[in-house]
């Protein structure tokens, strides 16, 4: 089982020093990525999902941000302790990323060919000619029609969905072990969203790439992910496999999220459920459960101390006082 683990994130902390105070964007997050599996990270805006993954790549803008603690072990080696040269060997090669807004993530001044070839030449040591052939092959896999022609065009000549396909082709061009997809479909039309998710699924399966899928939509993770982490205010509140999360959610926040998904099989005309209240301001957050003001099961202890993470079964854990004090 442990042989399959490619990447281990252990107690990762990423803070930002802002004028208003200390922002603990990520505060002790741990999870494992296994070979060829898909991990979903779900949470509201500002819950720390994106920062977690930028930290894995050591791409936190500094200042004002810094990695305050924890380990990110890639095959047992801590990325956070690596030199800039070592980490550049990993970026785009072992771990690559695609981002939310394909309209702004490609350089508008450079041809697609330039942007794709530079990565392949850098990591695979191919010459430009061979790299271009490889790039065309990747574009073809990503479903770009007439890739031989399209590769010499500029990003503005592509639609949003096509640009995301280019990003995916570029990210997978060096056969990375892990693909981090940071809200890859949020900026796209619903019909295109399904196509892009399908493409990520299909290509990662074919190339044996593990995927970290960051999203705020439970619907997206439901169809794609093997394991799911639910994040709230910079921490993982529940971690389980997909069936467990949807079948028997443990954390009140997860329950709320699932209740607020619109369902086709409900016939009653009641209003769609929403979790009451607002997500907390994570600046100078006290040591309590950050969800207690919105929680219908809140007890006294919730206001006083952050709940310990309790393991429920193998690979399943939850951070909530409802499930005892760490038993």
């Amino acid at each position: 089982m442990t042989d399959d683990v490619i990447l281990q994130v252990k107690d990762l902390k990423t803070y930002f020093k802002l004028d208003e105070g200390l922002l603990k964007a990520v505060d002790g997050v741990s999870f494992d990525i296994k070979k060829g599996r898909t991990l979903g990270i779900v949470g509201e805006s500002g819950s720390g999902k994106s920062v977690t993954n930028l930290a894995i790549m050591k791409l936190i803008p500094s200042p004002p941000g810094w990695i305050a603690g924890g380990e990110v072990l890639l095959h047992g080696k801590d990325i956070l302790k690596m030199s800039d040269t070592e980490i550049r060997e990993i970026r785009g090669n072992k771990i690559s990323m695609i981002f939310q807004d394909p309209m702004t993530c490609l350089n508008p001044f450079l041809r697609i060919s330039t942007q794709m070839i530079e990565t392949i030449v850098l990591h695979q040591g191919l010459d430009k000619k061979a790299a271009k052939d490889k790039a065309i092959e990747m574009l073809k896999l990503a479903g770009i029609p007439a890739p031989e022609k399209r590769i010499d065009q500029y990003p503005h000549q592509f639609s949003g969905g096509m640009r995301q396909r280019v990003m995916i082709a570029m990210a997978l061009s060096c056969n990375p072990e892990i693909l981090i997809a940071d809200e890859p479909t949020t900026a796209l039309d619903v019909t295109i969203q399904a196509q892009i998710l399908e493409l990520i699924n299909e290509l990662s399966e074919r190339l044996g790439t593990a995927v970290i899928l960051i999203t705020h939509s439970l619907g997206v993770v439901a169809g794609m992910c093997d394991e799911i982490c639910v994040m709230y205010a910079g921490r993982i509140v529940e971690k389980a496999n997909a069936d467990q999360i949807f079948g028997e959610p443990k954390h009140p926040y997860t329950m709320g999220l699932i209740k607020s998904v619109p369902r086709l099989d409900k016939t009653t005309k009641e209003r769609l459920y929403s979790i009451p209240g607002q997500p907390p301001n994570v600046i100078n957050l006290p040591d309590c459960c950050p969800f207690f003001p919105r929680c219908e099961y809140a007890k006294d202890i919730c206001k006083q101390k952050y709940p310990p993470v309790s393991g429920i079964s193998t690979g399943r854990s939850v951070a909530c006082w409802l499930y005892g004090g760490g038993n």
Binding site: M57, L59, P61, D84, R88, E89, I90, R91, G92, N93, S96, M97, F99, D101, T104, C105, L106, N107, P108, F109, L110, R111, T114, E118, T119, L122, H123, Y154, H156, M167, M170
Partner: protein, 309 residues
């Protein structure tokens, strides 16, 4: 692209027509005239002078006559410098101003961009603070302070460079250094601030994050992904700056005794030397619109999103 260039060139014709017409009538509206000096010429002499330069004719007729002359490239005689024509005066001064302006702007651009890059990469560190302080000095200290200070230090005290003179004198190209530095300073300061702001903006952009996430080294990220987008605003600033630096060099030309066009420009306006003013306005505007045109064409090559039809 060719179509666009032709269309832009054709549009220069009405622009120039409007400039010539407006300036012709506007300078006549200003009170006084070329012969109304403080000494006061006898009535008869004034009449004869007006007659000689056809200024006793109705204004519109003068305009038509002038326009006809301009079309064949004749700017007429100077009313003040009686031994030379306007064409000769401009031909003498303009090349010198162009040489000075080109050297100064090249210097300002190169140094400005280098300092801008350094400042942006070392944002909020001592390199940034000192570069931006220098830029504030460049923008706020007037040329008639910078020029004499440079003369004092490098010419009088250190005796490295001549105090004044021009490249055709015995000192040769050495005479170019101090005036070019002086003239370049405020432009350098502006370009440094502009490129710093622009690079900082691009450094925070999504596509630079993508470039970093691909494992590119910081040098390649800056050279290939940042600079091209960041330097576009500077290109569009350079067009008008080039025209401005050439005509605006009057102070520097006076300080360093350079036979440029700047001095004649101011003198002609004070003297109401109508043909000379007109000649300079035409040459200056032609220069300005040409520069703007070149910048627009250059933009088309630098920014692939712009398609000229």
């Amino acid at each position: 692209m060719a179509k666009y260039i032709i269309r832009r060139l054709l549009s220069l014709i009405p622009t120039m027509f409007i400039i010539i017409t407006l300036s012709f009538f506007l300078i006549r509206v200003a009170p006084g005239g070329p012969f109304s000096g403080e000494k006061g010429l006898p009535e008869q002499v004034q009449q004869n002078l007006l007659k000689k330069y056809h200024m006793d004719e109705p204004l519109f007729r003068q305009y038509l006559r002038y326009f006809g002359d301009v079309l064949i490239g004749n700017f007429g005689p100077s009313l003040r410098y009686k031994e030379s024509s306007v064409n000769e005066l401009i031909a003498q001064g303009f090349p010198n101003s162009i040489i000075l302006g080109t050297v100064a702007l090249a210097l300002a651009t190169f140094a400005g961009i280098c300092v801008g890059i350094l400042s942006a990469l070392k944002q909020n560190r001592w390199q940034d603070y000192s570069a931006m302080s220098l830029a504030v000095i460049g923008i706020s200290v007037p040329l008639f302070v910078i020029g004499p200070v440079l003369q004092l230090v490098f010419a009088m005290n250190l005796k490295w460079l001549p105090v004044s003179g021009w490249i055709f004198s015995r000192a040769g190209l050495k005479t170019l250094i101090l005036p070019a530095l002086t003239l370049a300073f405020p432009y350098f300061a502006y370009i440094a601030r502009l490129s710093r702001a622009s690079i900082l903006e691009v450094l925070r952009s999504d596509y630079v994050r993508t470039a970093r996430s691909k494992g590119l080294s910081e040098g390649i990220v800056i050279r290939r992904h940042v600079l091209k987008g960041a330097l576009l605003p500077i290109v569009s600033y350079l067009g008008p700056a080039f025209a401005g630096i050439i005509t605006g060099s009057i102070v520097v030309e006076s300080i360093f005794f350079i036979p440029g066009i700047g001095k004649i420009f101011v003198q002609s306006a004070l003297n109401r030397d109508y043909p000379l003013i007109m000649g300079e306005v035409i040459v200056y505007s032609l220069f300005l619109v040409t520069m703007n045109f070149l910048v627009d064409v250059l933009y088309g090559f630098l920014d692939p999103r712009i398609a000229y039809k």
